[in-house]
Amino acid sequence: MMDITDLTIKDASSLLTSKEVKAEELAKAFLERTISLNKKLNSFITVTEDEALEQARKVDELIADKQPLSPLAGIPIGLKDLFSTKGTKTTAASKVLENYIPPYDATVVTKLRDANAVFIGKTNLDAFAHGSSGENSDFGHTRNPYDLERVPGGSSSGSATSVAASQVLAATATDTGGSIRLPASFCNLVGIKPTYGRVSRYGIIAMASSLDAIGHLTKTVYDNALMLNVTAGKDEMDATTSPNKPDDYVSEIEKGVDGVKIGLPKEYFKDLKGDVKDLIMKAVKKLESLGAKVEEISLPNTEYGIATYYIIQPSEVSSNLARYDGIRFGNRRTSFGAEAKRRIMLGTFTLSSGYYDAYYLKAMKVRRLMREDFTKSFHEVDVIIAPTSPTPPFKIGEKMSDPLSMYLSDIFTPTINLAGVPSLNVPCGFLDGLPMGMQIIGPDFSEKLLYQVGHAYEQETKWYEKKPKID
């Protein structure tokens, strides 16, 4: 059999449809790798072996039957353990939910089931998605496959590690303030934070409802577009999903960047370390050489991003975590980890009588200014390119003692959630052997364009071919 660490969704799908490989064989190979690497990486909380094999066998039947199949049919994927899966434990990586088994599927899970994807298991994360490193998991931290002493980024730590380590070909994830893009950057992956409302949130354990975006991680831009083709769209169960019909994100992915106007926001570059800046500017130059036009722009309210985010997010967290009372399901509130408690306390305070106007309301005003920064800029440029992280992945334990410094490690991502616009992290090289990414940000519902730009760059650089050495 082939080396599965070389595979992408696109490759695997063609192997399946050409009957060179059976879905069951593929599932077995990925399951075996998942299980054997999990001790080292701790990327999975639950491995759903029986279900995966059953799903795979069904795909083999469909293929034998010559049924039309989704490009995701038979593709082994991981589900961030925030996605409700009927009959399979869904823990949010928190002790509060350590034995919770949902009686229903999240809409995205239903869509992936209907596409006959194969669920390898539920991936690790910072408990309730509170974190930037994966270290806040109540079931142990996840390691970065490119350097086991370093964090994979969070909160979608297990999703990132599992794709980077080829335990799966794709993994679902959520991004409230960078939780897809940061781990994508740290693990040499493509990660999409779609436009707010593009993908249904129904059934996915909420962190901060006005910021949560549902996306996924893959090795290539093409694979990423394939996934969004399945997950995007209006959901009657989520009143905030857009009624606009999603694009076909794959069909014109090779269109190129000729004439595409790229904006570089000066606020994102001004304090950036030299080597990080060089890496991103090199990528921008590459796009320029492919026909893109580059200009400097300004997003003046950027500096208030983290402050605004750390008011709105904990406020909504405090309310969303109120349902965990240990009465109908799960354990009692004493089981919350320190970070959840911290955010509940912070958010309860910022919403409380006498402080609401000064904090939450004020933040919602500044948030409008931030969104306006972006909408104005998109009159001038088609996309914006910015760093995803100011640094490569940091060491495990490095920032755990100081919450504020952890919060500040995520300076380039939350503003995009506040604005609601889509952003795609694309790998742009390595610093001392550690992956770095950049984000391509576009106006509302411009995911198709983001994929075109990302794909054009990726075809020139193919950073995804640089695999981690873990075996």
Partner: protein
């Protein structure tokens, strides 16, 4: 910024240890200090943003659909009695 940590914990329905109270008081103070930089932004004539999607009037027609079975609905509750979820008595005798 000084926070009444005990009061906030009560509102949040969290039982904190004395040590947690101390730690959180300090850490939340730092975060609030950091976010106070928003005071610099002039928002006098700015409306709060509300929903960023711009969507309005999203609802459903009044049509009933099947519910979960009792087993699926409450099967994971800590305590069950005759199809009810049970908790320690919260009434005082006066409600009898």
């Amino acid at each position: 910024m000084k926070i009444n940590i005990k009061h906030v914990a009560q509102l949040a329905n969290l039982k904190l240890t004395a040590e947690e109270e101390k730690t959180f008081e300090k850490q939340l103070g730092e975060v609030l200090e950091y976010v106070s930089q928003l005071d610099k932004v002039n928002t006098e004539k700015i409306e709060p943003i509300g929903h960023i999607t711009g969507l309005e009037n999203v609802g459903r027609e009044d049509v009933a659909a099947p519910s979960l079975t009792q087993e699926d609905a409450i099967g994971q509750a800590a305590k069950i009695h005759n199809g009810f979820v049970a908790v320690d008595a919260i009434f005082d005798e006066n409600d009898e």
